[in-house]
Point group: C2
Chain length 264, copies 2
């Protein structure tokens, strides 16, 4: 296995290149397809071009590694080391001109996301974590990230991307219980809400209906900043689905309790 530094050099150069592609499509007229059946799930040229760029760069540097992403079939998906990517997390924000989307990338080793990145090219913010420390490379240089010390729901700011992500009335009721107990509950954010949790500005993120590539890249960033990320049952959210991320173990425990009391 290469060193973390070698992985970072390749991954971050690939993300910055892919970010330039993203910006060339951002706030431009988009060709939006509907890949769902009835559901609105935009897929853009940008999505495909970004993922193509990431796959080409990572595949060339690490030919034995797997490549799994949203837009193309798996390559070497059973390899011990797999690059998992979501070319634009927050496509709906992207198509609305809002800058709260990001390019997500994880290096998954034997099923565990060891390294994770979020790159937001419009603001040139690159978030990185390895599960033990996290940092933001941005306009202010390199800045370590630390989640807040918030321990109680009553003191917490909770984010969730959209009420529509809660797929059942029971899920929605569980979210509403959390929101009702928090100091402030807001929608919007996609991956960016987890980054702000790692940075200490958001205390809790509660979501559902996530794909693995939506959450695995965020896990090493949130955990590296001292936060906790699990599914609603308290297990590692390796399959996506229902996710709760919290700034502290105590807050996480309170959130799980509130979710569990109403979850199906």
């Amino acid at each position: 296995m290469a060193s973390t530094g070698a992985y970072r050099n390749v991954a971050e150069a690939a993300l910055r290149g892919a970010g330039s592609i993203a910006l060339s499509h951002f706030r431009k007229p988009l060709a939006v397809e509907d890949k769902g059946e009835g559901a609105f799930d935009p897929v853009t040229e940008a999505d495909r071009a970004i993922e193509r760029h990431l796959r080409d760069r990572l595949g060339a540097a690490f030919p034995d590694h797997g490549l799994i992403g949203e837009e193309f079939p798996d390559e070497r998906g059973e390899a011990a080391a797999v690059w998992l990517m979501d070319p634009i997390d927050g496509t709906r924000a992207f198509m609305s001109g809002m800058p709260l989307w990001g390019l997500l990338l994880a290096l998954v080793e034997n099923g565990w996301p060891r390294l994770g990145w979020v790159y937001q090219p419009y603001m040139d913010e690159l978030f990185f974590g390895d599960g033990e420390r996290s940092e933001l490379l941005g306009r202010g240089g390199r800045q370590g990230l630390a989640a807040a010390g918030t321990k109680r729901l009553g003191d917490a700011v909770v984010y969730s991307t959209d009420p529509g992500m809660f797929a059942t009335p029971a899920e929605r009721a569980a979210y509403e219980r959390i929101a009702a107990h928090c100091r402030l509950a807001r929608f919007g954010g996609d991956c960016y809400a987890y980054c702000m949790l790692a940075a200490g500005h958001v205390d809790l993120v509660v979501e559902s209906s996530l794909a693995p590539y939506d959450i695995l890249p965020l896990l090493p960033i949130v955990e590296g900043a001292g936060g906790v990320v699990t599914d609603w049952a308290g297990n590692a959210p390796l399959a996506g689905g229902r996710v709760v991320a919290a700034a502290t173990p105590a807050l996480h425990a309170e959130a799980l309790h509130a979710l569990g009391a109403e979850a199906p």
Copy 2:
């Protein structure tokens, strides 16, 4: 009366200075007060320092003009020309580290917002409109703004800051009717959603519980880009309250119809 250019020079220098103050507080630990009774309405040192800066600069340049803002008592509020300001529109986004907040400023002449500005200092984006044309001064220089040509709810992307802003079940039901008919409905955005409407990326904004300083600065920007802004009854939203902004007159008419069918 001074020329638009003279107003712009003073106003935009004042906004950029105030934006630096905002950034010095952004993503820093905040002293948040609760000025509501039970409601969560953060007021920060940043809010006060920004408005103080704007008042000082505008008051010095235009001593006969009125000054009205969120944080301090009116000064010469009955003057023919009044500067109306909201130091941080989107304080909840601001305190969550999210960049979708802005400094709002309008020059109101005889009750009508003739010039309007939104400044987002983290992204260094200054939106300006005079009701006839609108522009964005940003990293790409000066760029004219034009709303989209979307004419049908079924093709529209609708934004609203938060479901909690709909104060009654009837208001909420009216919003839900709109959202159900749109191609995409999202929460979040505050002033930024109106800016993205002016820029052609969002088609509709439907909100309630706005103060005059929340909406009057946005009116010349949206109208200058070809959009339409009224209250839910189709009148100029000079008192705030319920607001609907649309990219085209046809879309606005469809939205009013949908809102009116359910509004109390």
